[in-house]
Symmetry: C2
């Protein structure tokens, strides 16, 4: 009774449902999502919001640990403490869930980047502050894994890559370029060409993120210390503190 209806899309599957899962290690269970509720039974809207948050949290953990294709929604549901059908009350399908998660996770990051234009002192201090924030809020947290996830799945989710480029990368680099230009006019930076490649300023931060995901257990990396040396290269020798 095998009905193998194979559509004759010879050249390209294009829009196919992703299945499968990778043989991989178990994810460490962090915490039972729904266990100790300090909250007394809330009203419906409140409960709904809590549930949604639990799902988002659980899905994030699973997607980070396994990637999109290998993540099972059964696991997400179990981790969130809901039934699988419940997921579909909050998200259209697996793909929508993934994309929405990635977008949502970036909102604080965007706020962080747009909250920098107040420069009271040397530009170097502003950039250093940016680096400290970045290391503390991203490299040392789960958000770093989200960046790795974007790098991983970006090519297969053009919508995500587009969104990320438009909302984060493009804006971030524009802001950084403005900072560099300001520093150049102030004489803090000598190399005028640096304005052409603001990527150079943030490159060590990206490397720190990747290092953290892949090699931290082999050789820990002090991302902030590294970044400060990097700033010495850009701004000239460090003014002693």
């Amino acid at each position: 009774m095998t009905k193998r209806i194979k559509p004759s899309t010879r050249t390209k599957p294009a829009k196919r449902r992703t299945t499968i899962r990778a043989a991989a290690a178990r994810i460490p269970k962090v915490a039972s999502a729904k266990l100790a509720e300090a909250r007394p039974p809330a009203n419906r809207a409140e409960k709904s919001a809590e549930r949604r948050a639990a799902i988002v949290e659980a899905a994030m953990d699973e997607f980070i640990a396994r990637g999109f294709a290998a993540t099972r929604l059964d696991d997400v549901a179990k981790r969130a403490g809901v039934a699988k059908g419940t997921l579909y009350l909050y998200f259209k399908d697996k793909e929508s869930m993934f994309e929405e998660l990635i977008r949502t996770a970036l909102v604080p990051l965007i706020s962080r980047m747009t909250a920098l234009p107040t420069i009271t002192g040397p530009v170097r201090d502003a950039v250093e502050g940016f680096a400290e924030t970045f290391i503390r809020e991203i490299v040392s947290t789960r958000r770093g894994d989200i960046i790795r996830l974007i790098v991983s799945e970006g090519p297969r989710f053009p919508a995500i890559a587009d969104f990320y480029f438009r909302e984060v990368v493009s804006k971030g680099l524009t802001g950084m370029k403005a900072l560099v230009q300001l520093a150049i006019t102030r004489g803090e930076i000598k190399h005028r060409e640096l304005g052409d490649f603001p990527q150079l300023v943030v490159a060590p931060a990206i490397v720190a993120v990747i290092w953290q995901s892949l090699f931290a257990r082999h050789a820990p990396l002090d991302g902030l210390a590294m970044f400060k040396i990097h700033l010495d290269l850009i701004f000239g020798e460090r003014r002693q503190t």
Copy 2:
């Protein structure tokens, strides 16, 4: 072999549901039969090597395009022009295939990195040569995607991450650190702390790889030009050529 006892567990071929395969998949046989001049019929060992190469090539393309979990071995087989069962004559299972592929793909990269210790001129020239090679051989080719693949799947394949760290990253950074130290003793580099973070030297190359995969279609990036500016920061202003 005159036993024609047909085992009952096997059903007869019956009808072929779908046209077995696209005609193009049969090319190898046709080519050797009709166009004998290009490729004389090889012996078994030679044929086997060719087949293996075809499988490796096809698997690489599929894994790069879809990642490990979402890649179907049916597709790999089709692309390689062999039956699925044939894959298992050359590889134990999907996971072994993936790991072996990643390892193999890195061999030329390793050779490249260990083939640099002959420094005839300024250290900067050596590093710039390294960068040119890296951009030309990796960023602009499929090898860049392999690096992205390692970043993507590394956390789920600790064996790959370990191998890569041991054989490439560790050795590469050690070599780079030696270069930096040499440049410091020669006076080409002022910042002595750079020796503590050789990652800083190669960071723009990593960023170029990622950019190429994710954002090239939005905004092309001249990796080599960027790297040269980076070298200006490290070695001081560029000596005009």
